[in-house]
């Protein structure tokens, strides 16, 4: 058996057996060193493109997934998906498109203070994660989406979120506070919000 064919089979087997998506680097370690893993993954994903199972890159890692168009045939059991609140969906989108972003900035965009459970819920779903601290007074935590978020929504990269380019072109991914333009009244709103937030904690 040629080394290339062997690499194809090994990669296929590993990706089938692995419980989690795998990085190219981890896969490359397991195939003959003179075979390019990108070539192998390219051929495999082409092989599987029209099948019931596809080979996909999710969150920069590779995994087999059932083809999206077969969803209706695969509802083996009815899963009770907790429906996310409007606030949670909106917050998730804001974090997705504006990350890294602080709680305060999310509140700016939504024009309302975040209720207690919203970030908690997204954190519990492991869709968001703290990614750092803003170098501003108080050093607030900044939030971003997680690997699990990408895997759950079948995205390879955060740039693959629907409409990213259009939103960017329209200047809508600007998280600058509009309140700075609102003047004193806005400052008052902000203060009240801040108080409420800290009350809530």
């Amino acid at each position: 058996m040629s080394e290339y064919l062997s690499a194809l089979r090994i990669t296929e087997a590993i990706l089938f057996a692995a419980p989690e998506p795998m990085t190219e680097a981890a896969l490359a370690e397991r195939i003959p060193s003179n075979v390019s893993i990108s070539l192998v993954l390219g051929e495999l994903s082409k092989n599987y493109a029209d099948r019931g199972v596809n080979l996909k890159a999710v969150g920069g890692r590779w995994a087999f997934r059932t083809a999206p168009d077969l969803a209706s045939f695969l509802e083996i059991e009815i899963k009770v998906n907790r429906k996310l609140s409007r606030a949670a969906v909106e917050t998730l989108a804001i974090i997705g498109y504006h990350q890294p972003i602080t709680r305060g900035e999310i509140e700016e965009i939504r024009g309302v203070s975040l209720s207690r459970g919203t970030l908690d819920l997204l954190l519990e779903l492991e869709w968001i994660r703290p990614v750092g601290k803003r170098k501003t007074p108080g050093r607030p935590v900044t939030w971003g989406t997680s690997q699990k978020f990408l895997e759950n929504f079948n995205l390879n990269d955060i740039k693959d979120l629907p409409g990213t380019d259009e939103l960017k072109a329209a200047g809508l991914l600007d998280k600058r506070p509009t309140s700075s333009i609102f003047g004193e009244v806005a400052l008052k709103i902000e203060e009240e919000n801040t108080e409420r937030v800290s009350d809530g904690i």
Binding site: A17, A18, R65, E90, G111, G163, T178, V185
Partner: protein
């Protein structure tokens, strides 16, 4: 804050009498969200929205709510105050003022905020429509897994080996305890050094002048200073030395005690 408006609906008949505006506050995510909904009901592109008209609608709503003696959350009232101010700025001729934004600039800022929030609301519903893992697409149901074989590697240095032997060896035998000589300066050493000077220190002299010259390192030096000080206290107690220090951390001076000087 939404519970304030639970199940509250009101009809707002437009000035032209054509559009019936239904405002249901149950489920609004704050004043900007409500403004956005009012804006959507204008059925024009947000880029061409009339902020003035929007402000009027919002104010009208707040007014109606007041008439019905509804309790309104502070956020909504603050927004009303701001919109009233914006409205006046938009209607009155602009004064020259560099420090403040003009009415139209303020309106633009609000329009931007509305557009941005609308974009995020749409983006949210777009995200929720993506095929989801475990709902629309599935991963391997029965992953065989990658078997991890752990090979233990034991590392032991000769030092550890000898140490173990030594520890064990000394456990059983009753060796006489040998105390290694320390290089530290004892109080006795200091006494010995100070004694020859007694009776000869006519003027106040710094403690440091009595220290041996060849000091090897800092720790030892500290021990010498401490021991010398302790020894000087001893000598002062026995009436052979006087000690003076003018302030905390300031230099310490010695002088021989002269008989009957007091």
């Amino acid at each position: 804050m939404n519970d304030t408006f639970d199940n509250f609906k009101m009809d707002n008949v437009e000035a032209d009498g054509t559009t019936s505006l239904v405002v249901d506050l149950d489920g609004y995510e704050g004043p900007i969200d409500m403004l956005l909904d009012l804006a959507r009901q204008q059925k024009v592109d947000l880029l061409n929205i009339s902020i003035l008209r929007l402000a009027e609608q919002y104010l009208k709503f707040i007014e109606e709510a007041h008439k019905l003696k509804l309790e309104i959350a502070a956020d909504y009232l603050v927004m009303a105050a701001w919109l009233a101010y914006l409205k006046s700025r938009l209607l009155l001729p602009e004064e020259e003022n560099d420090e403040e934004l003009s009415g139209p600039q303020m309106a633009d800022a609000l329009a931007f905020q509305l557009r941005r929030l609308q974009a995020m609301q749409e983006a949210g519903s777009n995200i929720m429509q993506l095929p989801r893992l475990g709902k629309d697409i599935f991963s391997r149901g029965f992953p065989e897994g990658i078997k991890v074989i752990r090979t233990p590697v034991y590392e032991l240095s000769l030092f550890e080996l000898l140490k173990a032997y030594g520890d064990h060896h000394s456990k059983g035998t009753a060796d006489p305890l040998e105390i290694a000589p320390t290089e530290f300066y004892s109080v006795d050493d200091a006494l010995e050094r100070l004694t020859p000077f007694l009776g000869k220190i006519l003027d106040w002299s710094k403690l440091q002048t009595f220290l041996p010259d060849s000091v090897k390192n800092d720790v030892i030096y500290k021990s010498i200073v401490a021991s010398t000080f302790a020894a000087s206290l001893e000598l002062a107690k026995s009436g052979q030395l006087e000690i003076r220090q003018s302030d905390t951390f300031s230099p310490i001076y010695f002088r021989s005690k002269t008989e009957g000087f007091n």
